[in-house]
């Protein structure tokens, strides 16, 4: 498996040389959503704490880096980590409230959604951070400002982010931390009875996950050059983030990446082929139907099936 992974990385590194800009752009989104899905996977997949408010961390990360850059001229390369840290603080607050007071299942979902919505409404109403108008970043093409004349640089950054998050998850998975998280997911009371400090490990998972997601916010902001509260903090982005790991296989190392490789091109290709004629919206129906099919026929996500297909069928 290891050599297969290395080969895949090599292929991905070489791809921009042969691909057109559209395919490169789609792959950038594949990596970006793969990265966000992987970050969510730590708390949502491994620890089993269903957060539906991860867009808040993207928003905090993106807005922080953009404000630091626009107001004080601080490079987003630094702003990215400040944004990540602030997202981690917010993650810690949400985690503390949720885990200390034992909110599980739907209640934790509601808590995360509520925080994301509070952030969205607050940002929409504070003129100092652009208010409902949002922030518009000037395109300069200056690498010090996290901007590149050549779109392929974004490809490598997005790839690096996805691989880094996967590396972090791989490390967690092999350590006691990962096993504790799986124990919490499977049966929290049993894990607690066995002496696992469930509060501590859930908090850690939340902080790491929100930090990584916050880093992604900077990429999103400086790739698209505009930040609007609805796009950065809204429920649709949170849903986009969790769809990848759920379809690919939550709580597995490669599930979010696989999910992103499935869903992102699916969304784009269906828009490309169904959205052209007069049938407005048919692509959304096609995307929805395919999504339902995946959930119906691959309820644990695609990765466990694929793994069985490639590894399990070997004589």
């Amino acid at each position: 498996m290891r050599w297969l992974g290395a080969l895949a990385v090599l292929v991905l590194l070489a791809l921009p040389a042969v691909l057109g800009s559209y395919a490169t752009t789609i792959l950038i989104l594949v990596f970006f959503y793969g990265f966000l899905g992987q970050a969510w996977n730590i708390v949502g997949g491994y620890a089993g704490q269903l957060s539906v408010g991860h867009a808040a961390f993207v928003g905090i990360g993106g807005y922080t880096a953009a404000m630091l850059s626009l107001e004080w001229g601080i490079t987003p390369w630094i702003g990215m980590f400040v944004g990540g840290a602030l997202a981690a603080v917010l993650g810690a607050v949400i985690g503390y409230l949720g885990f200390r007071f034992g909110l599980r299942g739907f209640y934790f979902v509601l808590l995360t959604v509520a925080f994301a919505e509070i952030c969205r409404i607050a940002v929409s109403n504070v003129d100092a951070v652009g208010g409902a108008l949002g922030l518009y970043i000037t395109f300069t093409g200056d690498p010090r400002q996290f901007q590149f004349q050549d779109g392929r640089v974004y490809y490598y950054i997005a790839l690096a982010l996805m691989l880094a998050a996967t590396g972090v998850v791989a490390l967690l998975e092999r350590r006691r931390f990962g096993i504790y998280l799986a124990a919490i997911r499977e049966d929290e009371s049993a894990a607690e009875a066995l002496g696992v400090d469930t509060f501590k490990y859930k908090m850690l998972a939340m902080v790491v996950s929100s930090f990584l997601t916050g880093l992604g916010g900077t990429f999103y902001a400086f790739y698209l050059f505009s930040l609007q509260p609805n796009a950065m903090f809204g429920i649709p982005l949170s849903v986009e983030i969790i769809l990848r790991p759920i379809v690919g296989g939550a709580g597995t190392l490669l599930g979010p990446i696989l999910g992103s490789f499935m869903l992102t091109p699916l969304g784009e290709l269906s828009r490309l082929y169904f959205g052209q004629g007069g049938h407005h919206g048919l692509h959304l129906v096609a995307y929805g139907v395919l999504l339902i099919a995946v959930v119906l026929f691959l309820p644990q996500g695609a990765y466990p099936y694929l793994r069985r297909f490639f590894v399990g069928s070997r004589p």
Binding site: G20, Y22, T25, L29, F225, A231, L272, F309
Partner: protein, 427 residues
């Protein structure tokens, strides 16, 4: 039961084929040479209706240009639109622009909402593909690029806009308010500004407020009352406005909020000289008449509007209504959205006629800068031209009023088809 099993080889083969399609979406067959334009609008999602109007406007204009012989100075070169859908998501603005450029688009057109448009800007500047913004009002879209060119961070500005900006909308509205009050020989003093608290509503509110502060007219904005968009109820906001004893209510609505606001004003019997909007959707569309009926009568709003004094506009509007009836079963009005996208396509044709060569994007930009185009169907304050920021200072709004359940241009005088009714008759 026989099981069909996907072999590993077949799986890999189909995956590779899929990847190849993704990598090379260009049509493989030979085609006659055309000039490709990426026309990108939100044709699905929350802004689907105006987005579809934009797409149809652009398509009709391209068809008309091609039917009239294409770009004559370039041997009758035909225009071909590569259609894109942003779904009002900024990331799709970028993706669709990249796709269009990958398929050979030499110019981009779009994209209605400011967020998606700004992400198209980065593609235009990165790939040196001129972008004509047909609709999007946020000032920074062009101003940011102009600034980076001025400061030497970018060499050439590839982004130009033929649409009023948020600030010019405000200036127009304040001017029209003042002129109409004067012409009517009444002197309303107290104006209450009410607005949807979203990107568009806030942008419009700020532009209007800034213009009012700069113009210092005889009337006063006594209060600004926002509401969350879409609202579930506006009774509190309206009673707050009523308590301020306004002479004029100036609402910045969306279709959904207009459907709540106007009946609420009637129910609470707010005594007003009139409802005069600084410019927003929701107050003049065919669908709104069906719901709001008499509540819309005498409402005025300042919007970019087609010049219906122009016989060509009337002919195109009739064709547009017929085409929408054929395609959607409902006759739609040729208005702000379809009109500006229609004009944008003729503007592009004019630019291409004058460009020294179409192979060099900088030559197209050079022709764009020298634009003086008087063939637009919308109401302009002069020929279409681009200032140092890349905006058309002659893209202005028109004050329209609902008279006899139809939107009619009433101000400025040059555009007016009928005399306005202000103050409105008491119920």
């Amino acid at each position: 039961m026989a099981k069909t099993r996907l072999s590993r080889r077949a799986f890999l083969r189909s995956t590779a084929a899929g990847a190849a399609v993704l990598g090379f979406p260009l049509p493989l067959r030979a085609q006659p040479k055309t000039f490709k334009i990426g026309a990108i609008h939100p044709v699905t999602g929350p802004l689907a209706e105006p987005g579809q109007a934009c797409r149809l406007g652009a398509q009709m204009a391209a068809d008309a240009i091609n039917a009239a012989g294409g770009i004559k100075s370039k041997g009758g070169l035909k225009l071909e639109l590569l259609l894109g859908d942003t779904q009002t998501k900024p990331e799709n603005g970028r993706v669709e622009a990249e796709r269009a450029v990958g398929q050979g688009a030499q110019m981009l057109l779009g994209s209605f909402d400011s967020g998606s448009t700004n992400s198209m800007v980065s593609v235009a500047q990165q790939k040196r593909v001129p972008l004509l913004v047909d609709i999007a009002a946020a000032d920074p879209i062009t101003a940011n690029v102009a600034k980076s060119v001025k400061e030497g961070q970018q060499k050439v500005q590839y982004v130009y806009r033929n649409f009023p900006t948020g600030s010019s909308f405000g200036r127009n509205a304040v001017q029209y308010f003042t002129e109409i009050f004067k012409e009517a020989s009444v002197s309303p003093k107290r104006v209450v500004l009410m607005h949807a608290n979203d990107l568009f509503g806030t942008n419009q509110m700020r532009g209007f407020k800034a213009a009012w502060e700069a113009a210092k007219p005889s009337w006063e904005i006594v209060e600004i009352i926002p509401w969350p968009e879409p609202p579930s109820d506006l009774s509190t906001e309206v009673s707050r406005a009523k308590a301020l004893k306004p002479d004029v209510l100036a609402p910045i609505t969306r279709p959904a909020s207009a459907q709540l606001l106007l009946p609420e004003i009637r129910k609470q019997r707010v005594e007003l000289m009139g409802i005069v909007g600084p410019g927003s959707p929701g107050l003049y569309e065919a669908g709104q008449f069906a719901v709001l009926k008499e509540d819309l009568e005498y409402v005025m709003t300042s919007v970019p509007w087609p010049s219906f004094k122009n016989p060509r506009t009337l002919a195109v509007a009739e064709e547009y209504a017929k085409r929408t009836e054929r395609e959607t079963g409902r006759r739609r009005t040729f208005d702000t959205n379809s009109g500006y996208s229609y004009d944008a396509m003729f503007l592009i044709a004019d630019i291409l006629e004058r460009a020294a060569t179409l192979g060099d994007p900088d030559a197209i930009v050079e022709a764009m800068r020298k634009t003086r185009f008087a063939g637009g169907l919308m109401q302009y304050g002069g020929p279409i031209l681009f200032n140092e920021i890349g905006d058309n200072p002659n893209a202005i709004a028109t004050m329209i009023q609902i008279l006899g359940q139809k939107p009619v241009a009433v101000w400025p005088k040059a555009a007016a088809l009928q005399k306005f009714v202000f103050p409105r008759p008491k119920a």
